[in-house]
């Protein structure tokens, strides 16, 4: 993959001729807007106004659409980044604060850079980014899109030396870029050996109608968290009228604490594409998309090679498995840093080369999806499971799990436990069991399903994973008694305010209000009224937001207030009300300029 070899140069980013050449080259590979912008970002370290103009002309898109997209996604920049662009994860489990030391600040001091800025000489830039899915590997960063995990002071020092010496990324120790799959406990799905193409052959032997019924019978439900019946979704799409049907795999797992797709994409890509191909046959699609989160771009060469192999073995392309008329292929589109694109309709918007804004539903994607056509969107794990069901039959899945939730769930477990990693359990397993298996001791709280999920404490550890009790996309973040839960709530609230798409008022404004209110309490300036304010804002967001992001963004703080009120209360001042305006902070700059002398203006405060 190119991005470790190309050395970007910001200066030619305004040369129209040069730009046209690069854009034309990018279009050969894929004319998708996100792809073209990625190539430009890589080559010129930013996407200039001139570049936007050229892209808009060459792709025949409105200038405003290209500009809107550039500004929407975190990985595109209108001003040049450094030749080495460092993004520290700010996740509570793989972030730069995970070991109690501020690694980003340390790195910044070492290299003389400030977060969010590019160093004067243009060599290096540094910033923070939302969870990059490396929670089983300790503190992690992306350097020019490539993940480096297990960060500590000494590793960062070695990185700093390589950067100062301008050593190309390709010559960095390759073991730094090795990401372990860390499967700790496998079950029916991960243990299942499926020779390439077996599922397709089974489906063709069985027939479309019967195979679809088998999936319905199996009770397979979407593994992304919402839990809609997979078979029913496919059936609705199959009967929906449209000029074309599409299969989309949602591999945009952005929920902090989730990394199971990383492992599935790495190790079970064949099964995933097989599941998509099965779906294509059943709904009558000729084209599918894998929407890969930008943070997992490093997996792209591997995924492309699997696709190539499948094309070569007649498992993709025309007349698949020698079945006349069975044609299907998969294209991969890589995101560019936007959590909201994990929402299926926002993902479709992004696939269409737009900002990732969730659509109004109904209509749902099964009837009006990609390009307005009937579309199935499922998550990685769902497609893998569907492929297995078709091969093994519905009884295979029904043998595991409970009445409501059939089969197994793959969990990404991280945080304070001895063995973080991937665990597969039959549905119905208790949190207590999970904690025991991953070696968690002294557990204080568990965030099930990531920040948008549920935060529970020890009285609820006997609750079970499943669609009727604790539904989850797969993230289990474990926090022991050494952790400050308040800091975690603050972290989550920052995450949501950063990731809100800005479409609807309650979420756009509410996430910022919650963040600021929690910051105020965390800084020791909160009073009782601030808790009431949080409750009011949180309830409003939950009830009136446009999509799941806004509706769940307040979950952590609501759960915190309900189950761990002492965590917030211990930060409160012993008074009912404290003004939002922090006078000392407001005066700080003036005082700095006047060298600490408030004069008579604020004698009462400044003179304290």
């Amino acid at each position: 993959m190119g991005n470790i070899l190309i050395t970007g140069c910001p200066h030619s980013g305004n040369d129209a001729g040069m730009l046209r050449q690069i854009i034309a080259g990018a279009c050969v590979e894929s004319p998708h807007l996100l792809h073209v912008l990625h190539i430009l970002q890589q080559k010129f370290l930013h996407v200039s106004e001139t570049a936007i103009r050229e892209v808009s002309a060459m792709l025949a898109l409105p200038y405003s659409q290209v500009e809107a997209v550039v500004e929407f996604y975190s990985f595109f920049h209108k001003t040049p980044r450094g030749k080495y662009d460092i993004l520290f994860s700010n996740c509570i489990c793989c972030g730069y604060l995970v070991d109690g030391t501020d690694l980003m600040a340390m790195f910044g001091r070492r290299l003389g850079i400030v977060a969010g800025r590019t160093r004067e000489d243009g060599l290096v830039s540094m910033d923070q980014t939302s969870c990059i899915g490396m929670c089983d590997h300790g503190a992690a960063l992306l350097v020019n899109g490539m993940p480096v995990t297990g960060l500590d002071g000494s590793l960062l020092e070695r990185i700093a030396i390589l950067i100062e010496d301008r050593v190309p990324l390709a010559d960095w120790p390759s073991e730094w870029f090795q990401i372990e799959d860390s499967i700790r406990m496998s079950g029916m799905l991960l243990d299942h050996e499926m020779p390439r193409g077996d599922s397709l052959r089974a489906m063709l032997a069985f027939g479309a109608e019967a195979s679809l019924n088998e999936i319905i019978q199996s009770g397979l439900r979407g593994r992304g968290g919402a839990g809609f019946s997979t078979g029913m979704k496919w059936k609705s799409c199959r009967v929906a009228q449209g000029a074309a049907h599409y299969v989309i795999c949602n591999a945009d797992e952005g929920e902090p604490g989730t990394f199971k797709d990383r492992v599935l994409l790495h190790r079970y890509a064949d099964s995933l594409f097989e599941g998509m191909t099965v779906c294509a046959y059943l709904i009558g699609a000729n084209l599918g998309y894998l929407y890969l989160r930008g943070e997992y771009r490093y997996l792209l060469p591997h995924l492309q090679s699997v696709l190539l192999l499948r094309r070569e073995t007649s498992l993709l392309g025309t007349n698949i498995c020698n079945q006349p008329g069975f044609s299907f292929d998969v294209q991969i589109v890589v995101g560019a840093g936007a959590y909201i694109c994990g929402e299926e309709s926002a993902l479709i918007e992004s696939l269409e080369g737009k900002r990732g804004i969730p659509r109004v539903r109904p209509p749902f994607p099964v009837s009006h999806g990609y390009l307005g056509q009937p579309t199935v969107v499922n998550n990685v794990e769902t497609f893998v499971a569907a492929a297995c069901v078709v091969q093994k039959g519905s009884t295979w899945l029904r043998a595991m799990g409970d009445e409501v939730s059939k089969g197994s769930k793959i969990l990404s477990i991280s945080g304070n436990c001895a063995r973080p990693g991937i665990y597969e359990y039959p549905f119905g397993v208790s949190i207590r069991q999970v904690l025991e298996d991953c070696g968690a001791a002294d557990t204080y709280a568990v965030q099930v399903g990531g920040p948008s999920g549920v935060l529970i404490g020890s009285p609820e550890f006997d609750r079970r994973l499943g669609y009727d009790d604790l539904p989850t996309g797969g993230a289990v973040m474990v926090f022991d008694k050494s952790r400050d839960l308040m800091a975690i709530l603050v972290n989550f609230s920052r995450f949501f305010s950063h990731e809100s798409c800005g479409f609807c008022t309650p979420c756009r404004v509410g996430t910022v209000l919650l963040r600021d209110r929690l910051d105020k309490i965390f800084s020791g300036r909160g009073a009782q009224t601030d808790l009431e304010e949080i409750l009011h804002t949180a309830r409003l967001m939950k009830q009136y937001s446009h999509c799941g992001l806004g509706q769940t963004a307040a979950n952590p703080v609501l759960d915190g207030l309900q189950r761990f009120p002492q965590v917030l209360e211990k930060f409160l001042l012993n008074r009912d009300f404290e003004p939002d305006l922090d006078l000392d902070k407001a005066l700080a700059e003036g005082r700095r300029i006047r060298k600490g002398n408030d004069g008579i203006a604020c004698a009462d405060r400044g003179g304290q």
Partner: protein, 274 residues
């Protein structure tokens, strides 16, 4: 969307109930369009009949109430009086299609309180300086705030820094007041056929941009008669050299409730042209 407008076709009409009042709707109509047509006001900012539904401001949130199963379809209305309200969910009236038998709550203290808070949020995130705003009195945001009894901004203001575009000879863009309702975006695309505006960015950094090479209005094809110039519910898009032609105190919402204007009970001369 598509207006079939065959009102004679009574068979195609059905009814929904808003705050106990049964009203007709046409197939494909949203709740808000059915309500406005029937003379029921639902507060809104990003909606305008004739432009595609949007659902972003969230002021038109209503509750659709599920009621206990009826014993039979034979006499639904009589049955309705003794039905027990079981569950309710909040939906945007501007995007939710009306379907036969919907039982909707609209003008309730709870909903109006939520709408007031959402309005406060809109004031909080922008720079709205009503006393010195040229649009004061003609501003729907302001009028809705009065309607909902909003007396203060409540939240700590964000004081964002936003660009102003006065490059065009007749039209001005003051982003300080923009509430991201996208009425101008849709009007330009759907009514004017120009695609003059878009929203760029994310979260509170989302901003209205102009579809021209320089990003400035001066280089755009915008014209005075474009609907996009006139749909702004706040003072973000202003027409130059018309300021204070109508004195403050005699403007649309100085003389009328927002409800009257939206229901078309009173069409003031300056708005009647559109």
């Amino acid at each position: 969307m598509m207006k079939t407008d065959n009102r004679q076709d009574q068979a195609a009409r059905n009814t929904i109930t808003i705050d106990g009042q049964e009203i007709p709707f046409q197939h494909g109509q949203t709740i808000i369009d059915a309500a406005l047509e029937a003379g029921i006001y639902i507060p809104h900012l990003c909606h305008r009949s004739g432009l595609s539904p949007h659902g972003s401001c969230r002021l038109c949130m209503v509750d659709i109430v599920d009621r206990k199963e009826t014993l039979g379809d034979s006499d639904r209305r009589r049955e309705g009086k003794i039905q027990e309200e079981t569950r309710s969910r909040s939906v945007a009236a501007c995007t939710m299609p009306a379907t036969a038998g919907q039982w909707i709550r609209n003008n309730t203290p709870e909903l109006n309180e939520a709408r007031k808070v959402i309005t406060q949020m809109l004031f909080t995130e922008g720079n709205h300086i009503c006393p010195s705003c040229e649009h004061s009195g003609n501003c729907t945001l302001q009028a809705v705030a009065y309607y909902l009894g909003m007396l203060d901004g409540h939240f700590p203001p964000f004081f964002p820094r936003r660009d102003l575009d006065a490059s065009h000879p007749t039209v001005m863009l003051d982003r300080d007041r923009c509430i991201l309702c996208e009425l101008c975006v849709r009007a330009s695309r759907e009514a004017d056929g120009k695609n003059m505006f878009a929203i760029a960015g994310r979260g509170t950094r989302a901003r209205l941009i102009v579809n021209s090479a320089s990003g400035m209005l001066a280089d755009s094809d915008i014209e005075m008669h474009d609907l996009a110039v006139h749909v702004c519910p706040v003072g973000a898009i202003l027409i130059k050299e018309q300021g204070y032609r109508v004195p403050i105190g005699q403007r649309t919402f100085d003389l009328h409730q927002v409800e009257e204007i939206d229901l078309g009970k009173t069409i003031p001369p300056e708005m009647g042209q559109k």
